[in-house]
């Protein structure tokens, strides 16, 4: 599985970014290869509109199966994620990436229906 997180940093100890469109980083963990990939998304702060679709575009480039995030994507981004058949788990706002991953593995994160 390829699991993506919205994050404030680039490693396991980074906090989850509760936002999707305006997340600082996208962090992808490939469970098979045990490797982390990241995308620096901080330039999104300069966009007045359309942050959701733009981040979603970068996000699907990572070819993730699952997204773990805080508040969940907004309407436009959700449309993109739905087309890309990504499953979305929300409610990880206060956790680190590691904690969010563990919580997900215990089936304790809520799945958002897109």
């Amino acid at each position: 599985m390829r699991i993506a997180f919205t994050a404030k940093g680039t490693d396991w100890n980074s906090k989850i970014d509760s936002r999707f469109g305006r997340t600082d980083y996208l962090l992808l963990y490939d469970e098979d290869k045990k490797k982390i990939e990241t995308i620096d998304n901080r330039a999104i702060a300069n966009e007045a509109h359309g942050a959701g679709p733009q981040t979603a575009q970068k996000f699907i480039g990572l070819k993730p199966d699952i997204l773990i995030t805080g508040n969940g994507p907004g309407g436009n981004a959700a449309l993109v994620l739905k087309r890309a058949s990504v499953k979305v788990f929300i409610g990880a706002s206060e956790m680190t990436v590691k904690e969010a991953y563990d919580t997900y593995q215990k089936n304790l994160l809520q799945e958002q229906t897109l």
Binding site: E47, H49, G50, P53, Q57, L79
Partner: protein, 282 residues
């Protein structure tokens, strides 16, 4: 002559002034009042007279017709993030699109032709010497600018320079306001003499200066707050055209959808001052 009535802060009296100034001037001139606050037009609440024309307004939006090489150029050239290129589909987000045509024109396979999408409607009423035009965005439409631009065009085509053209602008200082005042000869900034009124007046003044617009200030609800707006205008060399008194009777008439200018001499006097000022411009 084209005059816009703008404010910075909302709720300072743009509509009160627009509708009453238009009504007052129409006793002597041919006047058209235009409500450019297309997200929430309300001047019409004070206007009478039959509807003489109603037309749907459209903006152009690209539509993916399928079967392309998925090169992604459309998505790269879109400055408004309105296009997402998936593996086997191009998604268009119409509410983010600014109808710039870049994706459509630059697509090597012509896979994104532009189609009209209804964004709102324009209505034209006439009551003797006072015409009234209002545009209203459809629910769910997010962009005021294209509809404001088309309303300006309608006014230019239907009302020549013989008309006093009064534009009731949206509040704030963002794109819709800039579009509303872009082509006018003079901007009246309505404010109230409170700290909040002054704060937003300053923003509006900076905006007008950046646009090289001639402008003046009308203080509404004069008598409340403090004298800081007056001091500010003095320091900046901005003319104060009129001071409309704070009076419960004005609010009562307004709340019933009635015009004030012919019922309340203190108010009429201020409109007369504005009239004199704007007719001695140039």
């Amino acid at each position: 002559m084209k005059i816009a009535i703008a404010s910075g802060k909302g709720g300072t009296g743009k509509t009160t002034l627009s509708t009453n100034l238009a009504g007052y001037l129409s006793k002597q001139y041919e006047v058209v009042l235009v409500d450019l606050d297309v997200e929430e037009p309300n001047s019409g609440l004070f206007m009478n007279g039959p509807l003489i024309l109603s037309e749907d307004k459209y903006k152009m939006i690209p539509e993916w017709v399928g079967k392309c090489s998925m090169c992604g150029l459309c998505q790269q050239v879109c400055k408004f993030n309105a296009i997402v290129c998936l593996e086997d589909e191009i998604m268009v987000f119409p509410e983010l699109c600014h109808s710039c045509y870049a994706c459509s024109e630059l697509c090597p396979e012509s896979a994104l032709p532009m189609f009209p999408q209804k964004m709102g409607e324009l209505k034209h009423f006439r009551d003797n010497h006072l015409s009234f035009v209002e545009s209203r965005l459809d629910i769910g439409q997010e962009q005021a600018v294209p509809l404001i631009a088309q309303t300006h065009k309608y006014i230019d085509e239907h009302f020549n320079a013989g008309f006093v053209r009064i534009m009731d602008a949206p509040p704030g200082t963002s794109c819709p306001v800039i579009e509303a005042v872009k082509k006018v000869d003079f901007v009246i900034l309505v404010t109230e003499p409170t700290p909040f009124g002054l704060h937003d007046l300053k923003l509006a003044v900076e905006t007008m200066k950046a646009l090289n617009k001639k402008f003046g200030v009308v203080i509404n609800r004069f008598g409340i707050g403090n004298d800081d707006v007056i001091s500010y205008c003095k320091e900046e060399g901005i003319d104060i055209l009129a001071k409309i008194p704070n009076d419960r009777r004005i609010a009562e008439l307004y709340s019933r959808g009635e015009l004030i200018y012919d019922k309340f001499p203190e108010f009429t006097e201020q409109l007369e001052r504005i009239k004199k000022y704007i007719f001695t411009l140039n």
